[in-house]
C-alpha cells in the first residue's frame, strides 16, 4: 500500500523548484538552457559580433560576404545576403522569447481567469466560456494567423494574436478541469459555511490550488509556442521577412539548404534547444507535482 501520509507537498513553486533541482538532472539541464537563453536574449544585441547584420541589415559589399561557411571570421557562417548567422541568431533571441512568453503569460492569465470562473460560477457562465473555448481550441493557429494577416496586415501582432487565440482556451480548459475537481473539495464547503467571501474562496482556495499545475503546464508549453511562432513566421504570416526571428532565418535559408545548410541549421538548432529546455523544465516540475508521472516514465525506458 502506498503511503497516504507521504503525499507530495504543494508548498509553492519555489519549494517545488528547489526539490526538482536537488533531484532531477533534467530540471538542472533545463534551468541551464533557459538561463542561457534568457541571458542571450538580454545580451544578444550587445554581444553579437555584427549587430547590424543581426537586425537584418544587408552589409555593404554583400556579394563578397555572402554564403561563407562557418569559420573563424563568421562563427556560424553567413547567409545568402552576407549577414552573419550568429549575429542574426543572437539578436533574434529576445524576439523568440518575447513572442512565446507574451503568448504564454497573457494566455495563461486569461485562461486561468475564465477557466476558474467557469468552474466556480457554473451554469450559464460555465456553458458560455466552455463553448467559446471549444471553438477556439478547434482552430489551428496557422489558419488564424492567415486570417489575421488578411485583416490586420503583417506584424508581430499576427503571431501573438493568433497564438493567443489558440492558447488561452487550452489554459482555460486545464484550469477549468482542475478548478472543477477542487470545487468539489470539502474545504470549499467549509469556507462557504464559515462565511468566507466568494472572492477570497476563488483566490485563496481555488486559484491557489489551480495555479501550480497550470503554471507548470505553461512552462512546458513555452517550447511548443516557440515552435508554433517559428512556424507562423516561417510561413511569412507574421513578422516582416528581414526580422531576426529564428523561424524567418530558417525560412530564408531554406532555399539554400543544399548549398548553404548552415543558414537554416543553426537557428533551427536554437529553436530546438530552447523548446527542449522549457519542456525539460516543465516536465521535471510536473514530476515533482505528481510523482506518479515519473514512475511511468521510468517504466517506459
Amino acid at each position: 500500500m502506498m503511503n497516504k501520509g507521504h503525499r507530495s507537498n504543494l508548498g509553492g513553486l519555489g519549494e517545488l523548484a528547489r526539490r526538482a533541482w536537488s533531484r532531477s538532472l533534467r530540471f538542472r539541464a533545463g534551468v541551464v538552457i533557459v538561463v542561457v537563453m534568457v541571458a542571450v536574449a538580454i545580451l544578444g544585441p550587445f554581444i553579437a559580433p555584427y549587430p547590424s547584420d543581426g537586425w537584418g541589415a544587408v552589409p555593404p559589399k554583400a556579394a563578397e560576404r555572402a554564403g561563407k561557411p562557418p569559420g573563424p571570421e563568421f562563427l556560424l557562417g553567413t547567409d545568402h545576403l552576407g549577414r552573419d548567422v550568429l549575429s542574426r541568431i543572437l539578436v533574434g533571441a529576445w524576439l523568440a522569447l518575447a513572442q512565446s512568453l507574451a503568448v504564454i503569460s497573457i494566455g495563461l492569465a486569461l485562461g486561468l481567469l475564465l477557466g476558474i470562473c467557469a468552474a466556480y460560477y457554473r451554469q450559464a457562465i460555465e456553458a458560455t466560456i466552455n463553448y467559446i473555448a471549444e471553438v477556439f481550441l478547434a482552430l489551428p493557429a496557422v489558419i488564424l494567423a492567415l486570417a489575421l494577416r488578411m485583416v490586420l496586415g503583417q506584424g508581430i501582432h499576427v503571431v501573438i494574436g493568433s497564438l493567443l487565440l489558440t492558447w488561452w482556451p487550452w489554459y482555460a480548459r486545464v484550469a477549468y478541469v482542475y478548478a472543477r475537481s477542487i470545487a468539489e473539495m470539502e474545504y470549499i464547503t467549509l469556507a462557504k459555511l464559515a462565511g468566507v467571501p466568494g472572492r477570497r474562496i476563488l483566490v485563496r482556495h481555488i486559484a491557489a490550488n489551480v495555479l501550480p499545475p497550470v503554471l507548470v503546464q505553461a512552462i512546458t508549453d513555452v517550447g511548443s509556442v516557440l515552435l508554433e511562432a517559428a512556424a507562423i513566421n516561417f510561413l511569412g504570416l507574421g513578422l516582416p521577412p528581414d526580422a531576426p526571428d529564428w523561424g524567418i532565418i530558417v525560412q530564408n535559408g531554406f532555399k539554400y539548404v543544399i548549398s548553404m545548410p548552415w543558414i537554416s541549421l543553426f537557428p533551427g538548432l536554437f529553436i530546438l534547444l530552447t523548446a527542449l529546455g522549457f519542456s525539460m523544465l516543465g516536465d521535471s516540475l510536473r514530476e515533482e507535482l505528481d510523482p506518479k508521472m515519473r514512475r511511468r516514465w521510468r517504466l517506459w525506458f
Binding site: 500500500m1 514530476e287 514512475r295 521510468r298 517504466l299
Partner: protein
C-alpha cells in the same frame, strides 16, 4: 499437510523518487495451510495489502523484493526475481477492495465469465455459461437474473459476490481478499463473511483475508496474523489471540475497538503508526507501548513461539528462538 502459502524472510519495498527503497514489508514468515481462512489484520501502512499483492502476483513493477515466497510449493518470489506465470489467475486470485474495480464495466457478467474461461481453458460460450451458473449460485446469486446484467446494474454486495464467483471460476485454490467488505454496509459484510465460510467448507478454498476490522476477522478467521509497521506482531488461532492478546499492540487493538452493546471505556493510546522508511532499530511499537523497557529500544524483537502455537514478536515473552 500442504502449505498453501509460505514465506520466509519476505521483504517488499517500493522505490521512491530518489530510488531509495522504502520497505513496506520487513521480513515476514507466513505459513497458511490449505483450506484455512487466514486473516491478516493491521492498520494502514502496516504492509498487509502489500503482502496480499505479493501473494496474488500483482506487485507493481517498481516494487523491490527479498526473501522467498511459495504458493502451493511453487517458488514465486526468490530474492529480486518474481515469476507468477503458473499461478497467477490459476492457483491464486485476487478480490480488490471496491467491488466494481474487479469487474469489467463494459461486459455483462456472462461475457466476463466467457472471456476468463476461454483464455484459461478454451471454453465455448455454452460451457462458460454452465460454469458461470454454477459459480454464481455458489456465490449466492441467481444466475438467471444476473448473467445478462452489467456490473453497474448490480448493488455493491452483489458486485462483490459476482467478483468472488468470477474469481472462483478460474479454479483458483487460494483467494486473496483485500478488505473485501470495507466499502459495504454492515449487514452485507456479514453476508460476504458467511459466503467465504461456506466456500471454505464446500470447495476447500484457502482464503487470505486482509482487513483492519478485528471484529469481522473474528467471525471468519481460523488464524490471524497481526501486522504492525511491516512486521508480524503476533500470529495464532484467532479466538485465542482476541480473547487473550499477548502482544501489547494486539491488546491495544482489542481495547480500542468499540463493541456494540458493551460500553466499556475506550482506552486512549497516544501516537500513530510509524511512517514507512522511519527508524528501523528496536521494536516498531516502542513509542506507543505502555510496557516498553530498555531492550525494546535497542533491538528489534523477532517472531517466536510464546505458548501453544502462538507466535509473538515482543521482548516481554523472552523472544526465545
Amino acid at each position: 499437510m500442504v502449505l498453501a502459502v509460505k514465506s520466509e524472510g519476505l521483504k517488499i519495498g517500493y522505490l521512491d523518487e530518489q530510488d531509495n527503497v522504502l520497505w513496506a514489508v520487513k521480513g515476514v514468515n507466513l505459513e497458511v495451510s490449505e483450506g484455512e481462512i487466514y486473516c491478516i489484520v493491521g492498520e494502514s501502512g502496516s504492509g498487509k495489502s502489500t503482502v496480499a499483492l505479493a501473494i496474488s502476483g500483482i506487485l507493481p513493477p517498481h516494487a523491490v523484493t527479498e526473501g522467498e515466497l511459495y504458493v502451493y510449493g511453487n517458488l514465486v518470489i526468490r530474492g529480486e526475481s518474481r515469476s507468477y506465470e503458473k499461478i497467477r489467475g490459476r492457483l491464486v486470485t485476487y478480490i480488490p477492495q471496491s467491488p466494481g474495480t474487479g469487474l469489467n464495466p463494459y461486459l455483462t457478467l456472462g461475457d466476463q465469465f466467457y472471456h476468463v474461461l476461454k483464455s484459461l481453458r478454451g471454453s465455448t460460450r455454452k460451457e462458460a455459461k454452465a460454469e458461470a451458473k454454477k459459480y454464481l449460485e455458489m456465490a449466492g446469486l441467481d444466475p438467471a437474473s444476473t448473467l445478462d446484467r452489467y456490473p453497474h446494474e448490480l448493488s455493491g454486495g452483489m458486485q462483490q459476490r459476482a467478483a468472488i464467483a468470477l474469481a472462483l471460476s478460474t479454479g483458483a485454490r487460494v483467494l486473496v481478499a483485500d478488505e473485501p467488505t470495507s466499502s459495504l454496509d454492515a449487514h452485507l459484510r456479514l453476508q460476504i463473511a458467511n459466503l467465504l465460510l461456506r466456500l471454505r467448507e464446500e470447495v476447500k478454498l484457502t482464503v487470505i483475508f486482509i482487513t483492519h476490522d478485528l471484529l469481522l476477522a473474528s467471525r471468519v478467521g481460523d488464524r490471524v496474523a497481526v501486522m504492525y509497521a511491516g512486521s508480524l506482531a503476533e500470529v495464532g488461532k484467532l479466538r485465542e489471540v482476541l480473547l487473550k492478546p499477548l502482544h501489547p499492540y494486539t491488546s491495544m487493538l482489542v481495547d480500542v475497538i468499540p463493541t456494540l452493546g458493551v460500553k466499556k471505556q475506550l482506552k486512549c493510546y497516544s501516537g500513530e503508526p510509524p511512517r514507512p522508511g522511519s527508524n528501523d532499530e528496536g521494536c516498531p511499537f516502542f513509542d506507543r507501548c505502555p510496557y516498553r523497557f530498555s531492550k525494546c529500544a535497542a533491538e528489534k524483537p523477532r517472531l517466536s513461539l510464546a505458548e501453544g502455537d502462538r507466535y509473538v514478536a515482543c521482548w516481554l515473552y523472552g523472544n526465545r528462538e
